[in-house]
Subunit: 128 residues, 2 copies
């Protein structure tokens, strides 16, 4: 919890979390909106998603299409920090999935890496 502001439980948040927790893929705000039966304003979706990211509940990936995608943060380890991993964007079924593939890198001294945004693009095993 980076932000200590009090959060309230709302149907919108529940719905968003419900959609994402039952998905193995990272989803766009629009895709999430479409999966929710009740009407939710676009701005609200974005605010909810951004807040969940701030709170470490979700993580965000920006794909090479320039769009944001959101997925649950499953801590692959007992560690506090969620593991930085690759994502795969299938150009055929147009989905983005979190790969069980950690991002490893060795970078010159002096650099301070705070975040990573890594996407592999191609055809997934279901579409190949």
């Amino acid at each position: 919890m980076l932000n200590d502001m009090k959060r309230r439980n709302t149907p919108t948040k529940q719905a968003v979390l419900s959609v994402l927790s039952s998905s193995t893929k990272a989803m766009s705000p629009d895709a999430i909106k479409k999966k929710i039966d009740v009407s939710i304003d676009r701005a609200t979706i974005y605010r909810v998603l951004n807040r969940f990211c701030d709170d470490g509940v979700l993580h965000r990936v920006v794909a090479d299409d320039g769009k944001q995608y959101f997925a649950m943060c499953q801590k692959c380890d007992e560690n506090e920090k969620p593991l930085q991993h690759f994502h795969f964007r299938c150009t055929h079924c147009e989905t983005i999935e979190c790969l069980p593939l950690p991002v490893n890198y060795t970078i010159a001294k002096g650099y301070e890496v705070k975040n990573v945004n890594c996407v592999l693009i191609g055809v997934c095993k279901d579409c190949a």
Copy 2:
């Protein structure tokens, strides 16, 4: 050369290439435009950049800010294909550089990776 359409040499293309070849960083269309003394239309910049990417002269990175950045393709090897590498976006000086760090991954059978888009985000050595 994926596209075999005939290309013509124009001052715009020369200017764009000149700017990028003298830069160690990947640049946004807007930044490139600002570096060029003569007036060039925005749409033209985009078209020129896209064509250079098609022709393998430039490569494109989409950063986590959702914007496109372009840089020269320097073949790190004698191989035909340019080496897929990480990029670094410094949140302080707001630049994106090509790192001499190849992207390595092992992915489950069946996946077909056609491209990668990998960005590390943080503070570069000059700003740290």
